[in-house]
């Protein structure tokens, strides 16, 4: 008996070892056969069809894919469940999968579960890439450090051949470009960081925009923002003018405050910009807004979710938000604030306030996506084609039609309008039954017009200059602002402490060809301001270059 048990155990161990050693070599297998047309492919026998498909695409269900329910529940089969429960989204996902495979006979699409929106995404992705089980594409966060880590395939050649390359938002292209090579593709939802505001509060306060509607004017300054925040504040009613994280409260970008500048000694690439008086003004302004005027509600425990809660609960008149969310909510949840407060008359959107010299912090961006660098060139090309079809091609059209039909059946507004409003690409067909002007309030359309017309300044990475790690750098800056807001410490002491931390831990590097790259970078920024912000160039930038941008 013992020997039998022993034998079984040994066999189990042996089997598990062989299973571990088995490699899924489908990824690397190359077809020796000639390329077949879709028609040729349909004439193959099942076994030959299976054999012919040697380009595997792993599409994440969280972006582009669908997953069938795991349990049929009360239905006889899973397919029955999908059909009879009216799950048209899943059916369309499967239809698109079949269509794409038919258009690209060598490709086999596998929909996989891969959550790219959770906090553990980075570590999960690292493990998945090491195990060669990553999805074909995924959201590209923490740029450019993740590019330096080798997390994305080089897309430059594919981009050059693509007819809609130029339609990607400028900010997204810049974000994903390192030393002239492009590593990310702009997602299908263009937006920007904008201000979400309560129209009813603005109406009460008598603040109207150029359309005669409650809200800030579409061209407003940071001083206007501060004044309005104070005006909307009403402690007796528990109202704050603004709610947000402990940071610069939108001050730095429109005032052209760069928090790191070239190190004039040449010992490092960058140094913390503690000499710019704008930094003191910024810290002073947020300290006063939070503590003296009490127009800004902020806390170390406040994140995106919390300040949106403050807004929805009627405790904040303005918050920072992401542009596409508002038109979508307008269509999906028109009575979010009650039957007597239609969404479009309650929630407004405006672009970020400008600086005194007309500089804007508005950056047109999308969620950029990167592609698995371990894929073969055929897989990479197929994944790129998939994204094109999903973003604006056949699959996009199918998805939108389905969405419109579902909305009609369920008697609700179709979110197609929000998708098209935020779409950076040119769709294959016009899918709108009525023009966007008839659907959305004026401030939504005006904000989107401004987003589309806005420009993003050049980034150091494009010229091969190393940047400090984005997350940690932002954390250090937030720490500086939170100290300024929560303590009475001298601002000079806070700045000097932050400079010491940032210079020692985050900017302690120097590149080989820094000098030349830095010159090119500064020249590009100068040209950018001359072209898009001439007033800022004349009044501020020229002086700033002399003071803070001297290449050693």
């Amino acid at each position: 008996m013992r020997r039998v048990v022993l034998l079984i155990c040994s066999l189990c161990i042996l089997l598990s070892c062989t299973q571990c050693a088995r490699r899924d070599d489908a990824f690397t297998r190359r077809s020796e056969e000639k390329t077949l047309t879709p028609l040729d492919y349909t004439q193959l026998r099942d076994r030959e069809q299976v054999k012919y498909k040697d380009v595997i695409l792993r599409i994440p269900a969280s972006w582009g894919g669908v997953l069938l329910p795991v349990d049929p529940g009360a239905y006889p089969t899973i397919l029955d469940k999908v059909v009879h429960s009216g799950d048209l989204g899943t059916i369309m996902g499967l239809y698109n999968q079949a269509l794409f495979e038919l258009q690209h006979p060598r490709v086999r699409v596998e929909y996989i579960h891969f959550d790219m929106w959770s906090d553990t995404f980075r570590s999960t992705l690292a493990v998945a890439l090491s195990a060669r089980r990553a999805p074909a594409y995924y959201i590209a966060r923490d740029l450019p450090q993740t590019i330096e880590q080798g997390l994305y395939a080089d897309l430059t050649d594919l981009m050059k051949k693509w007819d809609q390359f130029h339609l990607q938002p400028e900010g997204s292209i810049r974000e994903g470009t390192v030393n002239g090579r492009i590593y990310t593709l702009a997602g299908n939802e263009m937006g920007a960081t904008i201000i979400r505001y309560r129209k009813d509060w603005f109406r009460e306060a008598g603040i109207f925009n150029e359309f005669g509607e409650p809200g800030p004017r579409s061209v407003w300054t940071w001083d206007d923002f501060r004044r309005i925040a104070a005006k909307l504040t009403d402690p007796k009613r528990g109202r704050y003018g603004f709610a947000g994280e402990m940071g610069d409260f939108l001050y730095n970008a429109p005032h052209g405050l760069d928090l790191y500048v070239p190190d004039p000694t040449g010992q490092r690439t960058w140094k913390f910009n503690d000499a710019d008086p704008e930094l003191r003004r910024s810290l002073q302004a947020v300290r006063e807004m939070a503590n003296k005027e009490r127009s800004a509600n902020t806390s170390v425990s406040m994140g995106w979710f919390e300040w949106h809660n403050e807004f929805d609960a009627g405790r904040a008149g303005m918050i920072v938000s992401f542009a596409p969310h508002i038109p979508r909510e307008f269509l999906e949840n028109p009575h979010k604030f009650g039957k007597d407060k239609p969404y479009g008359e309650t929630v407004g959107m405006a672009t970020l306030p400008l600086g005194p010299a007309g500089l804007s912090g508005l950056r047109p961006i999308t969620n950029p996506i990167g592609f698995d660098p371990t894929m073969s060139p055929e897989q990479l090309e197929a994944a790129f084609e998939w994204c094109k079809s999903y973003f604006y091609g056949d699959m996009f059209v199918n998805r939108m039609r389905t969405e419109a039909q579902i909305a009609r059946v369920l008697n609700r507004r179709s979110t197609v309008y929000a998708e098209v409003l935020a779409l950076p690409y040119k769709p294959k067909e016009n899918l709108l039954e009525e023009p966007l002007e008839k659907v959305f309030p004026k401030d939504y359309l005006e904000t989107y017009r401004r987003i589309r017309e806005s420009h993003a300044p050049p980034l150091p990475r494009e010229f091969g200059l190393k940047e400090p790690p984005t997350n940690e750098y932002n954390r250090a800056i937030r720490a500086m602002y939170s100290e300024a807001i929560t303590s009475n410490a001298d601002l000079e002491a806070i700045i000097s402490k932050t400079a010491s931390i940032i210079n020692t831990t985050l900017l302690n590097f120097r590149g080989k060809d820094d000098r030349e790259q830095m010159r090119r970078y500064i020249a590009a920024r100068t040209a950018f301001y001359q072209k898009h912000y001439p007033r800022y160039y004349e009044q501020v930038w020229r002086d700033k270059v002399q003071k803070f941008y001297q290449v050693p």
Binding site: L6, I13, T146, V300, N471, E472, R475, S500
Partner: protein, 291 residues
């Protein structure tokens, strides 16, 4: 016993132990060994690593934030051990003096909030300066000026993190379980000798709890030196760097700055600090009653 049967016994023992050993090796020892490898590398998530010698350790020792994080961690450990380790010992002893039914109810109440992550998230809202319960209750009684900023006050933030531990950390249950095993005869003998209540605690209860206290102290030191989720969820390390602990800084370095080599080097430094503390604790706080 024949030589054949001994070798068979050994072989079968090894074979049955092997899966467990594999798991222990790959998930227990291997990561520690691997950390020593990574600590000397410029380590990338996908690209091959580059050997950098002791550069990561030199960076760790020259980083001013490491000192801040270490100070915060020791401060947290001091508060946590003081409040959440020592207080439950005395609460448990006093609880044992109550009726059996009360003990059972109290144990139940003690056990319910041990769902820690959810508990931490709730505490985050309880501390909210405008909406939270901690400021809301005094306001209800007309004490609007109470207005403590809790997590937003650099001098209060750390103690605000420790307070939930009084409820969420459940060593009291373990002490009560241990106290129930103290022989009743010892107390009876003490009563006959005319020992007072506090004398009984000093001479009977505490010595009998000593092995448990030693073990719990060990866990408490390790746990509080590795504290991560409390500051991560509640304050993000702020205000300023007032609640940034070492493990949180390791996490930020690894998955915020993608500096896996330096993060691992700091983790190794923390490993040696904890080891040192444990050796000191084992040396000076013996578990054995006879020692």
């Amino acid at each position: 016993m024949t030589g054949r049967s001994i070798s068979y016994k050994h072989l079968s023992a090894w074979l049955f132990t092997l899966p467990g050993l594999f798991v222990q090796f790959f998930f227990g020892w291997f990561p520690i060994l691997f950390a020593f490898f990574v600590g000397f590398q410029q380590y990338y998530l996908v690209k091959p690593p580059e050997f950098v010698g002791t550069a990561n350790f030199r960076e760790v020792f020259s980083d001013p934030l490491v000192l801040t994080a270490l100070w915060n961690t020791f401060y947290y450990a001091f508060l946590a051990i003081g409040l959440t380790f020592i207080i439950p010992i005395f609460v448990s002893i006093l609880l044992m003096e109550m009726a059996a039914r009360t003990i059972r109810i109290m144990m139940l109440l003690w056990f319910i909030p041990v769902a820690s992550t959810a508990g931490i998230a709730i505490w985050k809202y309880m501390y909210n300066p405008t909406l939270g319960l901690m400021n809301g209750i005094p306001t209800l009684f007309g004490m609007e000026r109470w207005g403590i900023k809790w997590l937003d006050d650099p001098s209060l933030a750390m103690i605000s993190l420790v307070l939930p531990g009084l409820i969420l950390f459940g060593p009291g249950l373990i002490y009560i379980a241990a106290l129930q095993n103290v022989p009743e005869e010892l107390y009876e003998a003490a009563d006959l000798e005319g020992a007072s209540f506090f004398r009984k605690i000093r001479l009977v209860t505490l010595p009998r709890l000593r092995p448990i206290i030693a073990m719990m102290l060990l866990f408490s030191i390790i746990g509080s030196m590795q504290v991560f989720e409390l500051p991560f969820i509640m304050t993000g390390g702020g205000p300023g760097y007032a609640t940034t602990t070492v493990v949180m800084y390791v996490y930020n370095l690894a998955f915020g700055a993608y500096n896996l080599g330096k993060a691992t080097a700091l983790a190794i430094v923390l490993f040696f600090i904890i080891m040192t503390l444990i050796i000191i604790q084992r040396r000076f706080f013996k578990e054995n009653l006879d020692d």
